[in-house]
């Protein structure tokens, strides 16, 4: 009965927004069987993460609850759920789509803003230090080729990623 009430009052704008996000379009196929949750290694450890529940809340339009919470960041991206979903919902990708929306709205875990800065400034998520670079020949490794930072920045500017980053810096 409670479910019926929820369905009647569901705000469908959010599921539509999610469908419009890149590769989020399969989410409305979910019929809440729970195969994802029973295949999920994280859900086995903590009640804080349940992919079925996150999809339900998203379809019911509980946008603020979903994107401001920590649950969307607890997916370990193992893709077990995607492999086993009988409805072929791209669940792991839907988690990325939810994170993308959260990022745009300013809900950004610290480590992710570090990732964003690293890729924007170094072209790499994990920076290769000068020390390590100099050590390469002594180990018998060839010199590292230059990183395409300039090209990368042009791409990040074309996709608006650099603006996301600026917004994140303004907010902090």
């Amino acid at each position: 009965m409670q479910c019926l009430e929820e369905e009647k009052t569901a705000n469908l704008t959010f599921s539509e927004e999610l469908r419009q996000e890149m590769l989020g379009e399969t989410i409305t196929l979910c019929y809440q069987c729970g195969t994802c949750a029973s295949s999920c290694p994280v859900a086995k450890i903590t009640p804080s993460f349940n992919p079925r529940e996150l999809i339900k809340l998203s379809l019911l339009g509980k946008k603020d609850e979903v994107i401001s919470g920590e649950a969307i960041w607890l997916c370990c991206s193992c893709y077990n759920c995607d492999e086993r979903c009988p409805q072929k919902v791209a669940i792991a990708l839907a988690m990325f789509a939810l994170r993308n929306i959260a990022f745009k709205e300013g809900y950004i875990p610290n480590i992710y803003s570090e990732f964003a800065s690293a890729i924007l400034y170094d072209g790499r998520i994990v920076k290769v230090s000068k020390f390590i670079e100099k050590k390469r020949p002594t180990l018998g490794l060839p010199p590292l080729q230059p990183t395409g930072v300039d090209a990368l920045r042009k791409i990040l500017s074309a996709t608006g990623f650099d603006k996301l980053q600026v917004r994140e810096e303004e907010m902090s």
Binding site: E21, L74, C76, Y112, F115, V128, G148, S157
Partner: protein, 291 residues
């Protein structure tokens, strides 16, 4: 001679010379030439996909364009790079709309994704270009005394629709490649479960719990070591053991080796050339078991 453009990624050159050295030396010995191209970048793995999926596709496509220009297929060592690049390559090849959208962003760099090349993990190159029987012939120091727990990690196997690496629920490539070196591949509980690597830094607690289960199960199965394919799985299980020791007071002392390191040793490459001191959990007892 088989030639590939090497996609080295970030974590391997930054943290794991043991992986890079063993892979370069072993592949060279097997007749695979690796070409280091200029101007590659981050592969745009899950941390970037989490921020903006469109950007991650564009960055992956940019790197594939470099290989297309060099007229070479790409080879990756890192499973994360493999998943990012291979999934983007397949998605862009199959969706003209996505390709057009990504090519609009790439045009700023003078690149255009054509979809003319393949992205392969080096294990696929071993299977397809070298072959198990040929590999067995090349082994000069068989690992007869070793019991090895194969650990695939997630991102060579899944999402299988795009990666097409092996059966995502019952894979056999890694076990077969381990046995080709003369070692025994041992079965253990929940072999295909995630190592938790990607949660490190956001939720260390959950990440360590997942790694701990892997270490407990491989120990119980009597494995001498775990064989990994991915630098993140390696960190989760190798450095992870130090953290698990202090957090849970549990000592596993389970050596973790990249498959390429086992391969290099079996091909007769001197252990001293492989920067094995990179390992937090010492691998001396593994090396000493090799004749």
């Amino acid at each position: 001679m088989t030639r590939y453009a090497l996609f080295l990624g970030c974590t391997i050159p930054a943290r794991q010379p043991n992986y890079e050295l063993s892979a370069r030396k072993a592949l060279a010995k097997l007749g695979v030439e690796l070409v280091d191209l200029a101007n590659m970048t981050c592969c745009a793995p899950p941390p970037v996909q989490s921020i903006d999926l469109e950007t991650s596709f564009a960055v992956a496509a940019y790197n594939i364009c470099l290989a297309e220009e060099a007229d070479l297929d790409l080879i990756t060592l890192c499973s994360g790079c493999f998943e990012s690049l291979c999934a983007a390559n397949v998605a862009l090849k199959h969706s003209p709309e996505l390709r057009a959208k990504i090519n609009r962003s790439l045009s700023q760099t003078g690149k255009e994704f054509l979809g003319s090349k393949e992205v392969k993990h080096y294990l696929q190159v071993l299977m397809e270009d070298i072959g198990i029987e040929n590999l067995k012939q090349k082994v000069s120091k068989p690992l007869n005394n070793l019991k090895v727990a194969a650990f695939y990690g997630c991102h060579v196997l899944r999402p299988s629709g795009h990666l097409k690496f092996d059966d995502p629920e019952r894979p056999s490539i890694l076990e077969n490649l381990i046995e080709a070196l003369g070692a025994k591949s041992v079965e253990y509980r929940n072999k295909l479960k995630c190592c938790g690597g990607l949660l490190r830094g956001y939720s260390d607690e959950i990440a360590l719990d997942l790694a701990r289960e892997k270490l407990a199960n491989t120990s119980k199965a009597g494995a001498d070591c775990i064989a990994t394919l991915c630098p993140f799985c390696f960190v989760a299980l190798d450095i992870g053991q130090i953290q698990i020791r202090s957090k849970f007071q549990e000592t596993y002392n389970m050596p973790v080796l990249h498959y390429s390191e086992l391969l290099a040793l079996a091909l007769g490459i001197d252990a001293k050339e492989l920067a094995l001191e990179t390992h937090k959990i010492k691998v001396d007892k593994i090396v000493s078991k090799i004749p």
